[in-house]
């Protein structure tokens, strides 16, 4: 047993030494040390700025009754963990404003940074997902086939050493050499963050960061094992390399994008602007119908008061008039609300369906899986978009109940002339201080709950690949 252990240790030491003196280790080290702390720091700066902006605007008075086209607005808070995984943080609208019945997102005042969007962004997620996976392949492609080509595999196996130990030593050696620079850079980056003021130890953040690190490690391990596996499939390192590059392109570059595109094609969702247009046309047509129904009532009133309709003001002192008006207008307004709710619910449902499909397809590749997982944990994933939209609609409903439903807007037209009547319905008080929009991030249990399955998937994949590599290596022709 001890001899066996010593053999393993010998193999392990040789593996590690081999790697440490190679160019690829230097490249790995350089990339880790440069990219990880830098990306963490810069993303933190961006987060700080947005945070400051956000706080400033929340405090400012313009939330209530802004000088826009009249209406109420709200802001989306930044997520502290976006420092590790940007996700949709910068591309999702940061604010909205309500001009009943429309909700306008992004209000056009803050588009994403075009350079950011055109050239892509660097965050910790990207470094792990794209850069380290490629390097893992680079470390693994000639693990078996290379030794065969050199002839050293024969030499090693002329000794009483079981095959699985060789593979184990290769796996452990490679992992140690891959993970060490990665973890060290991460530590350096986190330290810089803490000194710059990042609330690393606040609340649940530390636990989440630890989880992110763990996931990254599993992911890198998965790619390394995959590389080992492919290395056992061929006798020429060059072939293994080309195959792995192809696999990398497909898994890291191809599938994630494909999943989104496929979901958009299979479950299309109309753009917001199109839905807004649909709502506008609907509102106009219902308004017109309502106007026609109310025409007689208003004209009668005008004649009674011997005024031209244009000079008519709403007579809140006449409860009979009010009652009649509400009676006629009621069903139209109810229908409008219903239709609106239906359109919005429909849109939301479609979005969710598209998202689910995209996520399912994305499970084919560990790279996209990792993206979803990390952005889930960082509260910057696609699910945040849905959550944000839900919160906004909820807010709108509350406002509708408290404010919008207590005022009226009637548009009457007669041939070429038109009159608009609007104001508060009598006897209905609107609160002086309308409720503020509040958005809360999902609770940890909630956000982790849905990702447990995916995390399991990632782990299972890695284990399965290792098993496959073992089997393949057992049957490997070492001559």
């Amino acid at each position: 047993m001890i001899v066996g252990g010593m053999m393993l240790l010998t193999l392990l030491k040789k593996e590690i030494q081999d790697y440490l003196i190679s160019i690829r280790f230097v490249v790995l080290l350089a990339l880790c040390i440069l990219l990880i702390p830098l990306s963490l720091y810069v993303n933190f700066e961006t987060y700080k700025r947005w945070s400051a902006d956000y706080n400033e605007q929340v405090k400012s008075e313009t939330i209530k009754g802004s000088r826009g086209r009249g209406g109420l607005s709200g802001l989306r808070p930044p997520s502290a963990l976006s420092v590790f995984a940007n996700g949709v943080e910068t591309s999702l609208a940061k604010d909205f404003s309500i001009q009943s019945p429309r909700i306008i997102f992004g209000t056009g005042r803050s588009y994403g940074d075009p350079i950011y969007e055109t050239f892509g962004r660097i965050d910790f997620l990207f470094v792990v997902q794209a850069v380290l996976s490629l390097i893992a392949f680079l470390f693994a492609f000639d693990a078996i086939s290379g030794e065969k080509e050199l002839g050293t595999l024969k030499l090693a196996m002329a000794n009483p050493v079981p095959r699985y130990k060789i593979l184990l030593a290769k796996f452990a050696g490679g992992m140690i050499v891959l993970i060490a620079p990665f973890v060290v850079s991460f530590a350096i980056g986190s330290t810089i963050l803490v000194f710059a003021g990042y609330p690393l130890f606040q609340g649940i953040i530390l636990a989440k960061v630890a989880l992110i690190l763990l996931l990254a490690t599993i992911y890198i391990g998965l790619f390394f094992v995959l590389g080992l596996f492919v290395s056992t499939l061929t006798h020429q390192s060059k072939t293994a390399l080309i195959m792995l590059m192809f696999v990398w392109v497909v898994l890291v570059l191809g599938v994630p994008r494909l999943s989104m595109m496929a979901a958009k094609v299979l479950r299309p969702v109309d753009d917001d602007s199109v839905v807004a247009l649909r709502i506008k046309l609907l509102t106009e047509s219902i308004d017109k119908e309502k106007g026609n129904a109310l025409k007689q009532l208003y004209f009668d009133k005008a004649r009674e008061k011997k005024l031209s309709p244009g000079l008519l003001t709403f007579d809140s002192a006449d409860p009979e008039f009010v009652r009649k008006r509400n009676e006629i207008a009621g069903p139209f307004e109810a229908r409008m609300r219903e239709e609106l709710a239906r359109i919005n619910a429909d849109q939301q449902r479609k979005r969710q369906a598209q998202l689910n499909l995209a996520r399912n397809i994305a499970r084919i590749s560990p790279a996209s899986l990792l993206s979803y997982l990390m952005t889930d944990i960082a509260d910057t994933g696609e699910h945040i978009k849905v959550r944000f939209l839900d919160a906004v609609r909820l807010h709108y409903s509350a406002l509708d109940r408290l404010i919008f439903s207590k005022s009226y807007q009637d548009t009457i037209s007669d041939g070429n002339t038109g009159w608009g009547f609007g104001g508060n319905l009598p006897g209905q008080e609107t609160p002086k201080d309308p409720p503020r929009f509040s958005f809360s991030f999902p609770r940890t249990a909630e956000s982790l709950g849905q990702s447990v399955v995916d995390e399991g998937l990632l782990l299972a994949c890695a284990v399965a690949l290792f098993a496959a590599a073992s089997v393949a290596f057992i049957r490997y022709d070492v001559r």
């Binding site: 990219l35 902006d53 056009g108 005042r109 588009y111 350079i115 962004r121 680079l138 046309l281 944000f388």
Partner: protein, 470 residues
């Protein structure tokens, strides 16, 4: 002699696994992505037309009363998607394609969707395939061009003949170039053919010239990477070292550098967010309104009489007095807002320019910059659209805004009116001129790629001349 070597290279490559895989990826992804993006373009175009039609209807039915009773009256202008966007999809959403032209400034309209860009991942389009896949495979084809012959011994066989090193380098370059030109050309032509069949008239407008430029730059871009691989191969003696260095180069040039640029630009010149600028504009406007209103109210009291029914009516001198008082305030407001606007725009443009300059330093960055511009979805196009909208605003200022009068009194009264002739049906229409190929052509990007190419070529020739062939 050069052709002999090139021919051998082509034959060797054609039989290799990497070529087969590259061919597969190209022929599958390019035509299918072109087609998919074309469908998306059609749908977006239809949506856009619907929105514009609704806008036109609105303008047609517009009444004078609606104009002057609305202090924030504005017109919407749109920037329709271009068919060449099939080459570089997903970039339209990041630029405002809808601007709101108001009295004092041009603001962004509501974005197309609650989320710009394709979210977590980019999209698959021609740009993606060439930028990542072709460049990677170009490097994979060339990284061992020299080292494998050396390790194999065939390098000595070749050089025992009257073959100069420069001839060898040229032969290798030509052979490699033709090797990846084949899948690119085939996939490209198939894609264009599919587009034509699907209804896109490739001969209309400037689609073909733009496409030609895109193809040409693609060849240059791929050549740069092939050369870099060849260079690395000429610098080291083991295939393994060549591999690691080439891949490291590819990683850095294609994945890391362009992104790092935007990071750096953000740190360097942070700009006040547009939101904050907008808030400042709003506050300037409202405070000037208030002051103006206060003074006007006093003046009104002095320049009006009460009529029989107890209502206040302005007297003759009122209009002149009103103009006297209001003019400086309106002027001041307009100027402050323009200044805030220009301030923001200049600083934003500077940040953008810096980011672009840094990103374009890498061949991938220059390539992306060139293609997005040529495909009519570029960053600079936004400036051009905004500039046109500004011009429109100035036209409207003369024809419309300067004739509208809107005063708010502190006591709650509002006075509005039109001075002069305004016919809503005859308001000038916004016409977005076609952006010319000439304007979309970014010579700097071409130059950057050429410099990379030439420097790499020169270094390769030098390295190969001193290469130890034993």
């Amino acid at each position: 002699m050069v052709w002999t070597i090139a021919q051998k290279e082509i034959r060797e490559n054609l039989l290799s696994l990497r070529f087969v895989l590259l061919f597969l990826l190209a022929v599958v992804f390019i035509p299918s992505s072109l087609y998919t993006n074309y469908r998306a373009y059609l749908s977006r175009q239809a949506d856009q037309q619907q929105i514009e039609q609704s806008n036109r209807d609105y303008l047609r039915k517009l009444k004078l009363s609606q104009i002057f009773t609305n202090p924030k009256f504005s017109l919407d202008v749109y920037w329709p998607p271009a068919p060449t966007s099939v080459f570089a999809a997903g970039f339209e959403e990041i630029h405002p394609r809808h601007l709101v032209v108001g009295k004092n400034s041009v603001e962004y309209g509501a974005p197309l969707d609650v989320q710009s860009s394709s979210g977590l991942f980019g999209s698959i389009d021609y740009l993606f395939v060439v930028q990542f896949i072709f460049s990677l495979f170009a490097v994979l084809l060339s990284f061992d061009a020299i080292t494998r012959e050396k390790e194999h011994g065939t390098l000595r066989s070749i050089l025992s003949n009257p073959v100069g090193r420069a001839v060898l380098a040229t032969g290798k370059l030509l052979g490699g170039y033709i090797t990846f030109a084949i899948p690119l050309l085939i996939a490209f032509l198939v894609g264009i053919l599919i587009l034509e069949i699907s209804g896109l008239n490739i001969f209309s407008g400037d689609f073909l010239p733009r496409t030609a430029w895109i193809l040409a730059l693609s060849f240059l871009y791929i050549a740069v990477f092939f050369l870099m691989g060849l260079l690395v191969s000429s610098l080291v003696s083991s295939t393994y070292s060549a591999l690691v260095l080439s891949l490291a180069f590819w990683l850095t040039a294609v994945l890391v550098l362009p992104r790092a640029a935007s990071l750096a630009a953000q740190l360097w010149q942070p700009v006040k967010s547009r939101q904050v600028t907008w808030l400042e504009k709003v506050s300037v406007e409202s405070s000037t309104e208030m002051e103006k209103g206060r003074l006007l109210e006093e003046a009104y009291r002095k320049n009006s009489v009460v009529d029989k029914e107890g209502r206040r009516v302005a007297d003759e001198g009122w209009q002149k007095k009103r103009d006297e008082i209001a003019a400086p305030y309106e002027e001041r407001a307009a100027q402050s807002i323009r200044r805030l606007e220009n301030d923001y725009r200049t600083r934003k443009a500077a940040q953008l320019a810096l980011g672009l300059r840094l990103a374009r330093f890498s061949p991938a960055g220059a390539f992306v910059s060139f293609i997005t511009e040529m495909a009519d979805t570029g960053i600079r196009e936004e400036n051009w659209f905004t500039a046109e909208a500004e011009r429109y605003r100035e036209m409207l200022q003369r024809e419309l805004f300067s004739k509208i009068q809107f005063d708010v009194f502190p006591t709650g009264g509002v006075s509005m009116g039109i001075r002069g002739m305004v016919n809503p049906a005859q308001l000038p229409e916004f016409r977005l001129p076609r952006s010319l190929v000439r304007d979309s052509l970014r010579g700097a990007d071409i130059a950057i790629l050429l410099v990379w190419f030439l420097v790499a070529a020169a270094l390769t020739y030098v390295a190969l001349a001193r290469y130890d062939v034993r």
